[in-house]
């Protein structure tokens, strides 16, 4: 595995920047410039690159879709949220319609925010492509078809030009897919969700979203420590604060940055990506959350090797 590309990182519902939010960023940038003049475009670019991410960028608003790039001929995708649309555009730009591709799609669960990009995943309409949809839910194919049924969508699933196959996976059992060993892990979420551990080529990536952790269940905790063990990257559902996750939003099926850090520390993971961002959190809030999470990791490290903390955003590429 060479890298991970985040195409959609927002939880529950896609969002977009508002005009007011863009205006706020422009004002923040001009305030930071403080009347400075730039001699060249590169000097201006350097200035912009030095601004806080919440000012110069955005975490984005597409729902869950993450690509694992192996360097091999087949594509690995986790979830089909709305981020699948820009992913599809990138694949078409890279390969066109004349070069058939194989896509392996791993579905965490059947909630709409994790499936809604599939009707916009253009490779499904191109004859010659092969799409293998992997998952642990009995009703996986039914759910994929359901959202493309009238009156919900104008193009029926039967119009797909690609060959679409389904592969039922068994939790806890390793599966060989595209040169990787992929192991699903059952997670606590309404209707169940499944995380996936991808291992191969000397690297390990864990995709674990829409997963609530019952802190009082030590067996569950130990299971996740094993699932995350020595991972190079853990993509983790950090939608809520810990206080929310154990009080007013208990049983809502999501977790927190604090629990993500603790599990990754216990597992000896190398890097944690905060993921499935709460839609009401704006870029500044997510930026503060990242800073606080890094601080939490530092003050609770206790002699362990540092855990690198990042916050996933749409378009982020992580080299493994």
């Amino acid at each position: 595995m060479k890298k991970v590309v985040f195409w959609g990182t927002r939880g529950s519902l896609p969002i977009a920047l508002t005009a007011d939010a863009v205006r706020h960023k422009v004002m923040a940038a001009l305030t930071a410039a403080n009347g400075r003049r730039f001699a060249s475009r590169s000097e201006l670019a350097d200035f912009v690159d030095g601004l806080p991410f919440a000012t110069a960028g955005t975490f984005g608003g597409h729902s869950s879709c993450v690509e694992i790039v192996t360097g091999g001929p087949e594509h690995i995708i986790c979830d089909m949220g709305s981020g699948a649309r820009p992913l599809a555009q990138a694949k078409l730009a890279a390969y066109g319609a004349a070069r058939p591709q194989v896509y392996h799609v791993f579905i965490s669960h059947l909630h709409w925010d994790h499936l809604m990009g599939f009707p916009f995943f253009l490779p499904m309409y191109i004859p010659g492509n092969r799409i293998v949809i992997h998952g642990c839910h009995d009703r996986l194919e039914e759910a994929m078809r359901l959202q493309m049924r009238a009156p919900c969508f104008p193009v029926d699933y039967s119009q797909a030009g690609a060959t679409i196959e389904y592969h039922a996976m068994t939790p806890g059992q390793p599966h060989a897919v595209a040169g990787l060993t992929v192991t699903p892990h059952r997670q606590l979420h309404a209707g169940d969700s499944y995380g996936y551990r991808f291992a191969g080529q000397g690297r390990c990536v864990v995709y674990s979203t829409d997963s609530e952790h019952k802190l009082e269940d030590n067996g569950e905790r130990q299971g996740f420590i094993e699932f995350f063990q020595a991972a190079d990257l853990v993509v983790f559902d950090a939608m809520y604060s810990l206080a929310e996750a154990v009080s007013v939003k208990a049983d809502w099926g999501h977790s927190s940055n604090v629990v993500g850090v603790e599990l990754c520390q216990a597992a000896g993971a190398r890097r944690l990506a905060l993921f499935h961002h709460e839609p009401v959190n704006d870029d500044e809030q997510l930026g503060r959350l990242l800073d606080e999470t890094r601080r939490f990791e530092a003050i609770t490290r206790e002699g362990r090797a540092p855990l690198e903390i990042i916050s996933a955003y749409d378009g982020l590429v992580v080299d493994l």
Binding site: A243, S247, V258, R295
Partner: protein, 120 residues
């Protein structure tokens, strides 16, 4: 397996407030023991009864499960019409509290005396 590295010191009454003091690490190994020690105090934390204050000044570490134990205590007290608060956190514990946003879901006081003055 739980151990006893967290201690709940003898309970005292300060200005009409029931004060219990914890000591040590409050983590995955010890949170259960603290929860068990708090249970009888929480049972009596009802409407019209003295507020229950947990003195954390001798707690030097708190994990997510320790934090959850306090949220559960706070919610139980509130459900019974009682009042539960914490006080005296060391700077590192206070920082963990803030990062976890626990300071938004339960009253937190700088020290026991100030808390008792407010809660009495």
């Amino acid at each position: 397996m739980e151990d006893q590295r967290v201690t709940l010191l003898p309970v005292r009454v300060v200005g009409g407030v029931t004060v219990a003091a914890a000591r040590g690490r409050l983590d995955h190994l010890t949170a259960g023991a603290l929860g068990a020690a708090l249970a009888p105090l929480l049972a009596g934390c009802k409407a019209g009864s003295p507020a229950l204050l947990l003195d954390l000044s001798a707690v030097d570490y708190m994990s997510s499960l320790g934090l959850r134990t306090l949220v559960v205590a706070s919610r139980q007290a509130a459900a019974q019409g009682g009042r539960f608060a914490v006080a005296g956190m060391q700077p590192l514990v206070a920082e963990i509290f803030a990062i976890a946003r626990l300071n938004l879901v339960m009253p937190c006081y700088v020290d026991v005396d100030g808390a008792c003055a407010q809660l009495a």
